[in-house]
Symmetry: C2
DNA sequence: AGAAGTATACTCACCAGTGAATATACTTCA
DNA sequence: TGAAGTATATTCACTGGTGAGTATACTTCT
């Protein structure tokens, strides 16, 4: 029956999500994932062609949820455009203070797979980041800001910088610093627009 | 004899540098490193307590050379303070266009070891990044800029953001975008200082 | 001789992936 | 309708290979 098949596949994906994110791609074996999912490794191979295939599926499963999270933080924030952008960074700081936080799964996977630039998971990761950047650019465009794509890229750089530095220092306040910088850049763009 | 001991140790470290950077920490075995260094694995274990110990030594060996590289780029750049900061990002863009470029070794190692926050290599990596930040802050301080530490942190965020996004997209132009943002932040700080 | 350094040859655990068999449910046709 | 056949989903047990780390012995230099 289709229902139960999807349940098994989802259990694998859920286990992969937790383990890959918590421990890293290469640190986690399919045996471990299978065990956590409560099934046999062969079943993993029934649903996924290979470990690489599962890695790709893991990232793909995070694409929309992550983007929606950012959209929500941005959309629900009070204030003007700079405040709304800053809010994203503030929320990241909050998340990063949770003990289970281990950075951005996309970035960490990219770091681990840096020696395999053509890896399908890398494409998913790059696509995810591009979507975020495009969304930011669109928000800036709608707000009537000049050079919206440039500003969006600057925000992306601060965002990924925040993910990276927080991980290195285990200090979530870097997200707040990034939020200040982002706010300054957006504010300055808003002023230019008015001129 | 000390001389030959250091020679063997250095050969190990050289091999570890190349392989860890090119392939990643967990993707490279000590067998591979020993082979590349032209010695046996046992000799590796004579000079290094464990793989973790070698990972730490690998990062430690990159600390000063990397910092010196940044100092050189900054020091030799023409122009005012914003130009000098921007020059660092321009040079990173140049480096990142080389096919062997695989991001920042410190950041990638931190990503791989995210599940081991107390790992000695993580401390070395965090220390390295702190040194960069402190150096930047000092340069800003000397230039008489207000809130020099804050600005330095913003530059660090853009720098590590550049490393990360270039790696994800395989597009060195992100470094140039980061350089523009950095320039804008420094310029704006210089103006405030004048006021 | 003896200490430092290196090599041979090994252990034990784990890992990605597979072969063969089985259970379950859906389809087809007499 | 119900038996036979087929696709889906799953398990157990395994393989070839590699991983970190080690016991022991040989070499070389002082």
């Amino acid at each position: 029956m289709i229902k139960s098949a999807e349940t098994a596949r989802e259990r694998i994906l859920t286990a992969a999500n937790k383990l890959f994110y918590a421990e890293g791609i290469r640190a986690v074996s399919l045996d471990t994932i299978a065990e956590k999912a409560g099934i046999t490794k062969k079943t993993v191979y029934y649903h996924f062609k290979s470990k690489d295939d599962l890695i790709e599926a893991y990232l793909a499963s995070r694409d929309q949820p992550n983007l929606n999270q950012f959209r929500k933080w941005f959309g629900e924030a009070e204030g003007e455009l700079p405040d709304k952008v800053q809010a994203i960074f503030r929320q990241i700081a909050v998340s990063a203070r949770h003990p289970k936080w281990k950075g951005c799964g996309f970035l960490r996977t990219a770091a681990e797979l840096a020696n395999m630039p053509g890896h399908p998971a890398m494409k998913v990761g790059a696509g995810h980041k591009k979507k975020f950047e495009a969304w930011m650019a669109e928000e800036f465009e709608v707000a009537g800001i000049d050079c919206a794509p440039d500003l969006a890229r600057h925000i992306v750089l601060l965002l990924d910088g925040a993910f990276s530095t927080i991980l290195v220092h285990r200090d979530a306040s870097y997200a707040e610093a990034a939020g200040e910088a982002a706010r300054a850049l957006v504010s300055s763009a808003v002023i230019n627009q008015a001129a």
